[in-house]
Symmetry: C2
Subunit: 377 residues, 2 copies
């Protein structure tokens, strides 16, 4: 039985471990928090820092393979483990490229992947020299996550919001749609593409609001999305699961926004809606099984459940009973003890053959389910 | 967050815990074996004997609710826990009735549930006085499980196979079909019925061979099955999940064979094929959520994966790669370290809109996947 470890014990680890229980595999998790969402679902939990060389190296030493839940891990330790024959999904070199937004953009350019025009800025003063580039999006090179580290700079009035650190300034694209394309690739280089997903964002939090699968786009655009996503994944030269996020503009042109080298929020519906979920698929890749069937069984929508504004502390799920009364709905609560405004606390999947029903129920759920907290005593 | 315990840590516990991770619930398992299939998937594992009063009582004392994976548990401890306000699913009184095949048959009779004619025998000598009752099935009152404790007595030649212990002798019914009907019932007495399932048995092992959902039967017969199953569950007067196994004879008459007061092998396809799986449903009952939607999303078949004859020891899964190559197939390996002939080691679910495809793939999988063992060193 292979021994496989996960760096990080959040909801992605949790759902990976739910899927792992279908296969003969011994599971390990490294995370700082004994009570993290994935801690109780693995065979062996290790308390430690995924950013610390010694912790990651000691954790990985006896394993057959290792994967990540988040990019902010100690890649030096992963490189040493990889050199010693432990498989790492994705390769540490890919994590290093992707988690630095400057390197990621340069990677697209070098590989002729369509992406919005950009320049690199080192300081806030340097940003001010590029007023002609506006409107644009300023993204910090290192350390941004879940909407942090991204600023929209529409006019010179916004320029002070920019980062005084190495960043990319991306020319604004007229976005008609945001699309996620999940791709699996195994050791042999075989690939499997999930149906593309329409992503609808909350403009305030820059967090996924809800998504619909499959995406409603002309076939020609879907082909472009698939071809470009495959080009990204092949250029990365690493087995694993990748979520390529793309923009489609008014002309039907497609641009890569960014890529996550791991299971991703935009693929959560695949648990119920597709034959092989993204979590199942990553185990297939790591256990050297054939790639799964990415076809959808039935169309789906997902609503993210975020901690409500103004509430911090022990989580309370309001409206859960009402949502569980809806017939074609699946609730996933991540088991985080504490809620905070905007924190990802769970998601809800809706299945229906009718697209209109998906949107209707997604909105209904958004207005029904709230994560608040117990009043502080 | 409610604290809920499971007595028994086998595959049913394992699949219950996979489903539990979608909800806010703190999980506990009691089992004799640290490495049992469910041990690593709960928040708190306790090593102990589910048949021992002290172990069960100590385990259940601090919990909000408790459920079972198997009927051979210490019901005296459960009754004491129940008296102290801990919810038990199903009620201990139900476990006591059902796990004794004599009491179970008498229960059907008292409640006017159609079931095959029977007499109770106390000894083998007493059995021999009832030759006129043959052909019949002799079932030991206490201790039978998974095909053990059942003997077919066709003629007087078979009579020595009977049990020299309190047993029921059931008149043989001309079975056209064996059907399983899973029913959920909550605290309020609300019920939900899954589509009935066709069960096909291996005549040698008396273990479920494969099953197809929904069952292929005239509507009138399905109504009878539902009405009778509902009558069983209502007469048991306990919330929980129940699998009612029934015979349909050539005339379309329906008889209850036996009932399991818990999640059951005949409902494993509901994980992928129905909106709310039987595992999800039991959590809904125990967490006081609304009952789930039992509708099937797509028809399904299940093949049980049993330990191959002639192999005992550390399990090896032959043909797993071939089976995982089939597009509409889901594999569930239970993570039991040791295989034995006939031991339930896993199951495979096949989804397809075409019934013929289900049967075809079920047979293909039966002939492809085998659980053997490493040669003894």
């Amino acid at each position: 039985m292979l021994k496989i470890g996960i760096l990080g014990g959040g909801q992605l680890g949790r759902m990976l471990l739910q899927a792992a229980a279908n296969y003969p595999v011994e599971t390990f998790v490294l995370e700082n928090d004994n009570e993290c969402p994935a801690a109780h679902l693995c065979h062996h939990f290790t308390k430690g820092d995924i950013k610390n060389f010694d912790d990651v190296y000691a954790f990985g030493k006896g394993l057959d393979a290792i994967t990540i839940e988040i990019e902010t891990v100690n890649t030096e330790a992963l490189e040493k483990l990889e050199a010693e024959g432990i498989k790492v999904y994705p390769k540490p070199s890919v994590i290093k490229t992707i988690r630095n937004k400057i390197l990621q953009k340069q990677f697209y350019k070098e590989n002729e992947i369509p992406t919005s025009a950009f320049i690199v800025t080192q300081t806030l003063d340097e940003l001010k020299e590029h007023i002609g580039y506006l409107p644009a999006v300023h993204k910090i090179g290192v350390g941004g996550y879940d909407g942090r580290g991204v600023q929209v700079i529409k006019t010179t009035d916004d320029i002070e919001k920019g980062f005084n650190a190495p960043s990319v300034l991306e020319k604004m694209v007229t976005i008609k749609k945001e699309i996620a394309q999940i791709v699996a690739i195994n050791e042999k280089g075989e690939t499997a593409l999930y149906p593309a997903v329409d992503m609808i964002f909350d403009p305030d939090l820059n967090l996924l609001d809800y998504q619909v699968s499959p995406a409603d786009l002309p076939e020609k655009t879907l082909w472009k999305i698939e071809a470009i996503s495959l080009a990204v994944v092949k250029a990365l030269k690493s087995p694993g699961i990748f979520a390529v996020e793309l923009f489609v503009d008014d002309q039907g042109d497609v641009y890569v926004n960014e890529t996550a080298p791991r299971v991703h929020n935009s693929g959560h519906h695949t648990i119920e809606a597709n034959y092989s979920s993204q979590f199942d698929m990553l185990w297939r890749v790591m256990l050297n099984y054939p790639l799964g069937n990415t076809d959808h069984i039935i169309p789906a929508a997902i609503v993210n459940l975020l901690g409500a504004e103004g509430f911090s502390g022990e989580a309370v799920y309001e409206g859960l009973n009402d949502v569980l009364q809806i017939e074609n709905v699946f609730v996933h609560i991540y088991g985080k003890k504490e809620t905070r405004p905007g924190r990802k606390m769970g998601h809800v999947t809706i299945l229906s053959k009718e697209k209109q029903e998906l949107t209707h129920q997604a909105n209904r759920i958004k207005n029904t389910l709230r994560v608040t907290s117990h009043p502080t005593k």
